[in-house]
Every structure is written in structure tokens, then in C-alpha cells.
Point group: C2
Chain length 304, copies 2
Amino acid sequence: MEPFIIHILGCGSALPTTRHMPSMQVVDCRGKLFMVDCGEGAQLQMRRAGLSFAKLSHVFITHLHGDHCFGLIGLISTMGLLGRTATLHIHAPRQMQTMLAMQMDFFCRDLGYQVEFHEVDTTVQAVIYEDRSLTVETIPLEHRMPCCGFLFREKPSLPHIRRDMLELYGIPVSQINNIKAGQHYTCPDGTVVPHSQLVTPADPPRSYAYCSDTRYMPALAQQLQGVTALYHEATYAADNMLMAQKYYHSTAAQAAQVAKDAKAGMLLIGHFSSRYTDENILLQEAKLVFPETYLTQELQTRTI
Amino acid sequence: MEPFIIHILGCGSALPTTRHMPSMQVVDCRGKLFMVDCGEGAQLQMRRAGLSFAKLSHVFITHLHGDHCFGLIGLISTMGLLGRTATLHIHAPRQMQTMLAMQMDFFCRDLGYQVEFHEVDTTVQAVIYEDRSLTVETIPLEHRMPCCGFLFREKPSLPHIRRDMLELYGIPVSQINNIKAGQHYTCPDGTVVPHSQLVTPADPPRSYAYCSDTRYMPALAQQLQGVTALYHEATYAADNMLMAQKYYHSTAAQAAQVAKDAKAGMLLIGHFSSRYTDENILLQEAKLVFPETYLTQELQTRTI
């Protein structure tokens, strides 16, 4: 199967600690890299994770709190120093455009590549990126400022050809694409081999949803039905439910409830408050609701 | 002796590597912290170094290349989240004020403390900070944009009282400050004990110069005569002399020449180009000119 890998670059929240970087991830979908959030230190974390700047062409920013975007200007600047020529696309709420333009005018006068800004409407579900094999759509979230998550969906792929059948019927290589696309095969003697005998089913399309930061949204599960993997912020444990409500964040159990209601394949939690020196309390609370829960950790990867 | 400690938070140059952070240091002078340059990740490095944000009230920025100031907005933001109320003073070239104001207006609307900007004229030697025990003066440097270093000088201190003499002559504690200030002591029987018998000499004032980034300036040594410790950038080894000239940086040997001419007590070198995976070549070249040379290294401290 083509790679679909989540690289956790940071999983902390606003206050830096010696244990966590701010929230940021890189999604590797079939070798193309997509950054989701870009906190301070993003460029360094990419280096540490061994990720290629050249393979990154799209950065998605959920909202404009500093811990989700302070690393962007450094990343853009460094890509320039490295001689980049390919356009970099930034997908972010509208206000980012002004800020970014000012910073770039100040710090990146001689940039050898274009930075193209794409305004994200955080209030609607919409496909904002599409290529041959993937779409990215917005997930409206509820935070203290305009904020949305991002849902990466593989497009349905073609079925797998059965090599044993190719040999059995002496089917020429030139016919493979037709068969994958659904055609039967007619042998030179007129025998028709039905499509279903020539292929095994396509891999089911995989999907990954990144939801940070948000208060608990029971309705969120509708958009995320059947998602292969869900990252949902879990800033607090149940002991700080009031903090979660006040600051529009979620508890671990609330994140797990979303995963359960969405029938997600697995749940990754992060955006840990700096008050927890051991996040296992968050993990335990989430697992009571949704057993397939995992803590995120810097420089950890997870294959979808 | 009162502490005078240099904390190296970063010693790399513009390109991030897994080995070095951008150039930034914290000078601890008698418990007060002064940050010099503030690259991306400064707040995190302060945490890792165990340095208190509350003890930091002055940040000095040498110039406005991103690797020397991208960490400032994150530091300011985090200090706000931590509930700071004391004013933070930023000393930097003029252009920083506009940029900082824009960033703060955008990201730090609810900051609970003042950020006071002090424009630094990078073209003159001038004392820009003074307290009871310390001055900081600018060191004009020659880089691709306005740039200056900073020279931390302890003020002369008072001589040390000799406890043995206090006991011998039965001198009351109330007289200690007078004696330290230079007075003789007159015993009840009229005997005069001269000041020189009652004290040992004051510690010689210490000084620390931070010079990054600059091309080789033979005249620099004049301002730095007798400096206790000199940090001088050494971006390149001799093999890249032409790069040093082109980009207004220095080689290790040039940094050492400045230290030698200034009769510095020791030389610290940093701002290493990412092309050197082992900086010992820089150290060796510098030591040929000035033996008391040391490489800097993240989270290393050096007592002056």
C-alpha cells in the first residue's frame, strides 16, 4: 500500500515545556508532505524527523494562535536560503495573509520562490485541496477564534490485478489498465474472463482528520464518520472540565466520545496542557470511552 | 564573587541543523538575566537551560536577520501567558519596532505587561543600559545590514573587608561600609588603622563582549581592550574565506585575531556554518592565533 504516515512534530499546547513542542504535524501521503499547523521550531522538527523541505508544498494552519503558526516565517525563510524555487502554498484563515505579507516583506525580500496564500473559510466544510489521489477538506471547529481542522481523504483507488490470472490466460501487459478500470478480458479464442476473476478488491480509501483546537462538538462525528484515524485535541483531563469549557478546549474523554461516535479506526490525542507531567491520565480517561486511543509524542510516526 | 555566567542557548547560523539552534545567549550578571539575540526556539531553550522568564527584563537584538530575532514574538507571547506584569525592554535596531508592533497587535492583544522598545543606533559606541553594577554598550559591527554587538561591563566594585582585622581591632559592623568606601578606622584609644590594612583589593571588574554577525574588523580590538571574555562569530574556516568576505562574516582565525589584538582573557566562537559537521577545524584554526579559544555549544555555560 502507498504510504500514509503521520509525523508528529509537536503535541504540546501554548506553553512550551521541555517535554513538548507546540502542536504541529506532517502528513506524508504517497510521498507528498503536508504540514498541519506550524508552531515555533517547525523547521527544526522537520530536520529532526528527517523530512525533506522540498517535498513539502502545502501548509495548513488551523487558527492564528501563536503556538500554531509562529514557526511559519522561519520555515519560509529557511526554504529560501536552501534555494527553493517551487511555490509554497499556505492555507490559513484570512487574517494570516496580512500578517504573513508584513513578515515576508520585512524578512524575506530576496525569496527565490513564490508563497501563495489560500484563504480558508473556517465556518464551512469544503474541499480546499485536491490532487490525483487525495482531497483535503475543512472541518469547522469551535474555538476562541476562527478555527478549523483538516480532513485528508484518499480517493478510491483501482482494484489490484491478479498476476496469476495474467499468466493463466496469457493476458498482455497492455490490457492491465483496461482491466483495472473495470473491463472483462476476451481471450483470442473468444472466451470472456469476467473482470471480477482478474482482480482483487481495491484498498479501501484511508482518511485522517486533524482537529485542534476545539471545544467538544457532538456534531463533529457526523463529518468524520468512518475516518481511519482521528487526531483530536485533549488538552485537559476530566479534573479540568471547567478550564476546557472556559478556553474552548476538550477533555480526553470528550475527544474519545467524538472518536466513538464517528466510528473512527483509531484516536490520537495531543495538545496536552503543560500542567500534566504524565499524560497517562489523559490516555486512561480516553480509553474508557474509546479503547483504540494513543498518545502522540514528538518525532513519533503513525502509519494509517 | 557575584555570578557572571554566559548561557549559550544557540550557536548555529541561519540554517537550522539537528546539531545547533540559531545564535542566542543569556548573560546572567548577579542574578539578573539579559538575553542577547533571540532566534527561533529561544523560549524553549530558556526552559531547557532552567532559566527564569521572570528574571529576564532586557533583550538585546544585534540585527534583524531572522536567525537572530524570530524567537522574540513567541517569548513575549509566552511571558504573557505566564502572567508577567513587569515591563520587558527590547533593545534593537529601529526597524524592529515596526515589525514587533505589528506582530504584537496581531498576536498579543491581551498582554498583561508592557513591552518597551529602545532603539539602538548600531553605528556608534554608546552605553545603552546601566544599573547599579553593570553597563551595556553597543559595539558597531559590519554586516550586510545595520548590526552591533553588546559589551557587558561590571562597574568597579568596593574592596573586600578583612574579617580578621575587624576582630583584631574590635571594629563595629556599622563601620564596614565606611571602610569599604575608603576610610581609615580610628580606635577608641585614638590609634588610626589605615584603610589599606583593613581591606583586600576589590575584584577587578569583568566584562563580556558579544560580537555577531560581522566581517573581520581589525579596529574592533580597540573598543574591546582587556575584555575578560569575547564571543566573536566564526562562521567559516579558512577554506571559506571568500564566503566570509562575500557575506560579511568572519573566519575562526579572524575572530582569534580580534581576541589577540584586544588582549582578551578568552575567546568563545560560534555562529557556525551548517556546512561544518565537526567544528574542531574552526577551533584548531583559532587556537593557532589565540590559544584560549573555546567552541560554544547549546546549553553550555561559561563563568566569566
